[in-house]
């Protein structure tokens, strides 16, 4: 009788408290399994005027009509954004890494101006292939990064733009 009650309690504990362990702050760990470390305070290389102009001079002959403005693709890479330490027992387990970028003003997929929140840099986060930087005899360590596609079309202020990037590693 006693054994039956204990078993039921343990089952309940696993099902209910398990999800509560899934989200943690950097660095974080779920039980003895996967340890995720993410770089803090990433300062991207500043965009230059030449980049915005696609290398063209900032003085342009025109005929008095608006010639329009086409931006060259702007990208920034963060190669060593995160690393995951994987114990041997999970060495072959597939992992899913996902990203969510939220501007300081709360808009998803953007960075917002620190002093003028309405001014935003739109960003698309693309994952770079992870690199295996560890291995036997130690635990396997994967390192990954992102490439940001930056669209400045909504920018109307120079200065610093910021946001929060959430990195989530899932083993389905």
């Amino acid at each position: 009788m006693t054994g039956r009650l204990n078993s039921q309690w343990l089952l309940f504990l696993c099902l209910v408290t398990g999800p509560g362990l899934l989200v943690a702050q950097r660095p974080t760990q779920v039980g003895p399994k996967i340890r995720l470390t993410v770089r803090s305070n990433i300062q991207l290389e500043p965009i230059t005027a030449s980049e915005l102009m696609g290398g063209a001079a900032p003085t342009v002959p025109f005929d008095g009509q608006d010639p329009g403005l086409t931006f060259q693709p702007l990208t920034r890479e963060v190669l060593d954004l995160w690393s995951v330490r994987i114990p041997p027992s999970l060495d072959n387990a597939p992992l899913l890494v996902s990203y969510q970028l939220i501007a300081n003003n709360g808009v998803e997929g953007a960075l917002s101006h620190l002093g003028s929140p309405g001014s935003m840099v739109l960003c698309i986060v693309n994952a770079l292939p992870p690199v295996d930087i560890g291995g036997p005899p130690g635990p396997r360590i994967l390192q990954g990064g992102i490439r940001l596609e930056i669209d400045p079309v909504q920018v109307d202020q120079a200065g610093s733009y910021g946001g929060t990037l959430v990195v989530e590693v899932t083993r389905p």
Binding site: S7, Q25, R35, V60, F62, S160, L165, V166, E168, T170
Partner: protein
């Protein structure tokens, strides 16, 4: 029997790995530079019409008609006075420049125009340009050689330019070339 079933259930929980997820957050910052793009007319051609020099043709209140009548009829002397003659004309060029500018909060954009080459020549015949003024497109007050306005972001702000031309040393018709107006745009 009941006790055995419970043990099996516990083993199932321990051996089937649950889905795992770990997450972390980090702050990302990017600096956007101040930027100014200046669009300019690389060549401006303007034609001086006789009406631009209407003072030179003034004979009474309606110069063209009366001059034509006098010539047709040889009706007498034309009474041209020094005060009636005007050898200067004012030229206004719309959308002479355009600016896109973005800068930090509290910054401004200033466009200044100046004459960098005042003389237009056709051989020995010359026209001198001076007193350039500028204003935002369509405003038309032309109060100064510069205009200040807030950063435009990536929107295009157009501007007009006005200047005077002195044709008192013009002795020949035809193209007079060589004048130049400098446009300077800054963020401050």
């Amino acid at each position: 029997m009941l006790r055995r079933v419970s043990v099996f259930a516990l083993l199932a929980v321990l051996t089937v790995a649950p889905a795992l997820a770990v997450s972390a957050t980090t702050q990302i910052n990017l600096n956007m530079p101040s930027l100014i793009i200046l669009y300019f007319r690389s060549a401006v051609n303007f034609t001086v019409a006789d009406t631009d020099l209407s003072g030179a043709m003034l004979i009474g209140a309606n110069p063209n008609n009366e001059a034509a009548a006098a010539i047709a009829g040889f009706g007498g002397d034309a009474g041209v006075t020094g005060a009636d003659f005007s050898s200067t004309a004012t030229a206004t060029v719309q959308n002479f420049w355009g600016v896109r500018s973005f800068a930090g909060v509290g910054s401004s954009t200033r466009v200044t125009v100046s004459v960098s080459s005042a003389t237009l020549s056709n051989g020995a015949s010359t026209i001198t340009i001076s007193n350039p003024r500028t204003d935002l497109a369509g405003v038309g007050t032309f109060a100064a050689d510069n205009i200040v306005f807030p950063p435009t972001g990536f929107a295009l702000q157009l501007g007009d330019v006005q200047f005077d031309s002195d044709m008192s040393a013009m002795t020949l018709p035809g193209n007079h070339t060589g004048g130049a107006i400098l446009i300077d745009a800054v963020i401050f």
